[in-house]
Symmetry: D2
Subunit: 380 residues, 4 copies
């Protein structure tokens, strides 16, 4: 029988829901040594904490995350609050000896992130960052194909994350669901929110990004701030694009925006290798496109692989071939892998240090956009 | 606070899992007057019942479905066993005053189905059949567009359900996961298994099917039977196609097979109307294709609608635009609608009578395939 | 140096243009023993004949096709007039010893077609029917894959030809460009116009069609006739669908209509074999979709083959990989093959006899639609 | 009746074929005041000139382009030779008072191009550069939609031109069909060959590119040179990507490579505007993807427009809706427009000056790739 893994959730927003769903479902589909128990939900507002706990079945509520960290019956805390609060909570959690599952991006910037890494490594607590897209089966499968050498030498990597939800200048900055437009809470705009995902996947699939050259733009310069009630300068980047070179010699091209009309959440990547290429996009996340130059000449073509077979990553746990899963399942897989990691003492990635790599690239991207220069990215 | 709805599950296979998952999740996402409680799981094998109950959190187990029906603490039974067992259980459940959620197809044939309808109607118990594809958001949205008159007069309806998993002659008939190849357990092959889905959707979207003309084929004539251990004649249809005319004057074309190499579970339908057309397929179930002739001339084109917005059916309950859901969610929606139905005393469809309509078409199809003649379909 | 092949064109409509373009282009791209010379254009109206000749570079005009046939300087006649005129001209041309290139369908019906076959075989004149889609490179490539045994045993063949141009009841029957709605001129509606293409390809790819069961519909029952000026009953089929069995044991499903909103000229076919499947559609005619079950398991997927490489049929004659050709090129290829045929005395298919096979299927389809019965198709 | 326009073709390669085909076809489909006459073909090798002339119907041959320019019976010269020869011929042709149709890119660099512009403007001869993709109907239609204001303010423009034909290190530089790998003949690699097309379209659709920041890479550093027979350093760019800002405030992202396995000639562009977005790719050049945010909310989706209707640009001249044209037709359209331009004295674009704009961007891109800095692009 599996043992309990008592979860303390801090936050109750979109990610709080996604993670809670994952904790609740994982043992129905995966055979694991632990089963998450939704022990406590924490939010400053007692009403919101209570409502969230009722909705998801948390056994108790807290309104002060420090109290939550003091509780003996909590094994792991899940940090699902705006980016500017990650660091303080993570330091305290590490000090309290709790496992930490932290929403991405890890930190407001590299130096802050580095201290968080040092804290968890010193405390020797299990730690993970929710770059969930690694666990979309088609993406995990892409990783396997690359590791198996199917692509050979890589020449090109390109990724986009395109959205269109902030085009209206009437949208305020700050407030429920809109803290991502407020630089004080979010740190950056699309760079930390969207490109961070693209960068995490890219490093995972293609290795270290050596240097970058970026541009950013803020199309709507002023928005009403829900905190002050005044029209204020917008501090985030609405769009960001950058060129880069990977340590393996391949070229990279990344772009993200919230001003690409027609795209809701179109995260795409493509990798071109000597022998084969592959591409994926989030709008049809259960498919991987694959081209293999070793196929018989006239029969070569991009294969649209419906990643729903029992021998595709994770898919043997779900339904039958042809029946697709969705966005939320990536979180279930991440919980399963986290539990496997603590069971076998082989930490599931990305841990804090792994996530710091993405943070360093984000920092270099934002700095390069200011200076107009190529900047090297430090290793983590 | 919501009230409990105590579920007794009969069966533990693929559908048992799909339904159990739906019962467990529905209240996390939908605000409902009842919440399903997984009260008891029933299977002839105590070990299998116990394992299933542990996996899904059922509170107790039974090994005799008659015992389950006697229990006062069961409000609703879910019939997830092979087709040839539906009728007997349904009659007993109705007599015991239990709500019934029955897997599709309703019965082995129309006459059997009719008696089941009479039983539940006489007993006045809530009843529903799991034609889950109606609740895929893109399909529900198609229904809304048709009901809103977007298509105008309908000329054509065509549907396919193509699979390729039984091509190998080495596959036996009968046994775990393979009772669908055994005519004694399944009643028919693709007609009841796959076409039944296509027919249910078609009647729902386009009304009564007046008459049909069909052909069937069994490509592999003999297979080893796991029950007898002998090679026996295969009694099911491996493939079935039929022409039909709907009562509204439109023409229909249906095809199903398990011998279409390359298709895992490709259920597709297309409706062509005077003003607009729409099509959908299960392999990318979160998309609806829509063509509107009233669009500005040169800008006309098939729109690929990513049915993931808050104003799309059911989708406001899940994530954010662009993030897709999958196959299993259709069952969650069906549970939500069932609960809404019993709450407001407006039964969720398809109930047994509605499902009988599909049964009548299936019967006519199989009879026509034998006689080679056009056959009228009785109304239900 | 190549020798002249003097062409006499009868007709000046859409097909007259398509064929003339092919005659003019073929020697720029193909090395052939003959080069077509546009010797004479023939139409009842001298003005129309003259205008057409000027547009395309025909050296002379005729207003009586009998005169054209008498001319010594004409080697081959091209019959591009409505279906009801094919037979008389073909008989006379054969008698005059001219090669004949006849638009499809061959005849108004099978018996008429049989006599045409007998006439050209008796006269020993080269003869061909313009079922041009065989020469779309992706379709020719499909034929090669099937002949090479890539698919193995075939289980299913399905084809559609969907259009939407006659939905308006305001459209008259008869008149310029509209003789296809007039049963007296066209013989049938979509069956002879569209399904004939599907049937020709099907027989070519998958062999004899043994028997059929069909339905037809005329959605708009009456239209103004441009000849009489009166509203008259419409005699053609607006839509036709049929089930069939091929001699090789595979099942076929065919459908055609001019009432499928959103489809301009969507000719599609799909063949499902034991080992592989393929599909094609006219709206992206330069692509072939191919699925091979012998691919490495998890990497299986439908390949979208861009049929534009030098080792694809005909494509070495055109541009470079990635640059597509279009509809008109199928006619160029047919002329090239016709010339190869007369050069090497290996007639290019389909000749009249080959086209008679399609005629027999069309007849059986139309008869079955009337009787509601399965009908056998005679061999040709 | 139309008047003759006597063409002198210099070159006999891929582009010589594409242009010759266009001259031969244009009057069959377009009603024009002039009809091109294939007067002379010029190549250094008399045999090659003769073979080319025979294949395409040129009336005479020349082996010295200076002789061709001296001929009174030549109205226009078509420069289809490697890039390093454009300038000298263009200057001489202008001095001889000939109209000039020059292959792209205009010149080896901006300063050279500027002198060519000055020469033709001084000589007042009609001049045009073969950026043929402007005349793909779907691209022309995109231009119309933008000019009609369908998109509103533009935020993003991105374009790729991806190929995979030079991955093998065995491929030599120089020689027949391979002069594009030789920096001395080509000037640059993908920048002048492929990105030049992307830039031309971008400026046409979205206006002046104000500044750029680029990177280039040469993956295969040394290749055998067919001229010297020795392995020599490769001087061209195998891949090039750049960020840019348009004068209208939108952001641009461009990439080109010959190392993207699986892409034969995938030129794609996408434009994201305030109200609508559109995208196109060369592999399915007859389609335009269009998204309009003003569509009814839940029915919004990317429309796949099959640009084959009579009211689509140029398409009324060809076949009927649904029947696609191909790559070569873009050249036919360009000839038609060139003739319209000289007829109505409204020069068809791009003329030399217009093409100089692309040259300036290419220069800045290549310079920026060397310096790593943002560079401003001069106006032309």
């Amino acid at each position: 029988m599996s043992k309990p893994l008592n979860i303390g959730m801090i936050g109750y927003g979109f990610m709080g829901r996604a993670h809670s769903n994952a904790y609740r479902k994982v043992n129905n589909f995966f055979d694991l040594a632990y089963h998450p128990v939704l022990k406590a939900a924490c939010a400053r507002s007692a009403d919101k904490a209570r409502a969230f706990a009722d909705q998801w079945g948390y056994e108790s509520v807290e309104t002060d995350w420090r109290k939550l960290l003091e509780r003996k019956d909590i094994d792991a805390v899940d940090i699902c609050v705006p980016n500017n609060l990650h660091s303080e909570i993570a330091h305290a959690a590490a000090a309290a000896g709790k496992m930490i599952l932290c929403e991405k991006p890890l930190a407001m910037n590299g130096p802050e992130g580095l201290k968080m890494v040092q804290a968890v490594e010193k405390a020797k607590v299990a730690n993970m960052v929710w770059y969930n897209y690694r666990r979309v089966p088609a993406v995990t499968f892409a990783k396997k194909l690359i590791d198996d050498g199917k692509l050979g030498r890589v020449f090109h990597y390109r990724a986009n994350f395109l959205q269109d939800w902030t085009i209206s200048p009437e949208l305020p900055q700050g407030g429920t669901g809109l803290w991502r437009l407020d630089a004080a809470a979010a740190g950056s705009g699309v760079t930390g929110d969207l490109l961070a995902h693209c960068i995490d996947t890219a490093i995972w699939l293609n290795g270290h990004i050596a240097n970058v050259n970026a541009m950013t733009e803020t199309f709507v310069k002023e928005r009403k701030h829900t905190g002050t009630g005044k029209v204020e300068k917008v501090g985030i980047d609405d769009a960001c694009a950058f060129l880069c070179r990977f340590a393996n010699g391949s070229l990279g091209l990344f772009e993200s925006t919230r001003y690409a009309r027609g795209h809701k959440a179109l995260y795409t990547f493509e990798v071109n290798g000597e022998h084969a290429s592959l591409k994926w996009d989030l709008h049809d996340l259960h498919r991987l496109q694959y081209f293999d130059n070793r196929d018989e000449g006239p029969l070569r073509g991009w294969r649209s692989i419906h990643v729903t077979d029992g021998d595709h990553p994770y898919m043997g746990k779900w339904w039958v071939p042809g029946l697709q899963i969705g966005y939320e399942h990536s979180f279930v897989h991440q919980v399963a892998d986290f539990i496997e990691g603590i069971t076998k003492d082989k930490p599931a990635m990305p841990d804090f240090r792994d996530a710091l790599r993405t943070q360093h690239v984000c920092d270099a991207v934002l700095d390069s956009a200011k200076s107009g220069k190529w900047l090297d990215v430090p290793k983590a």
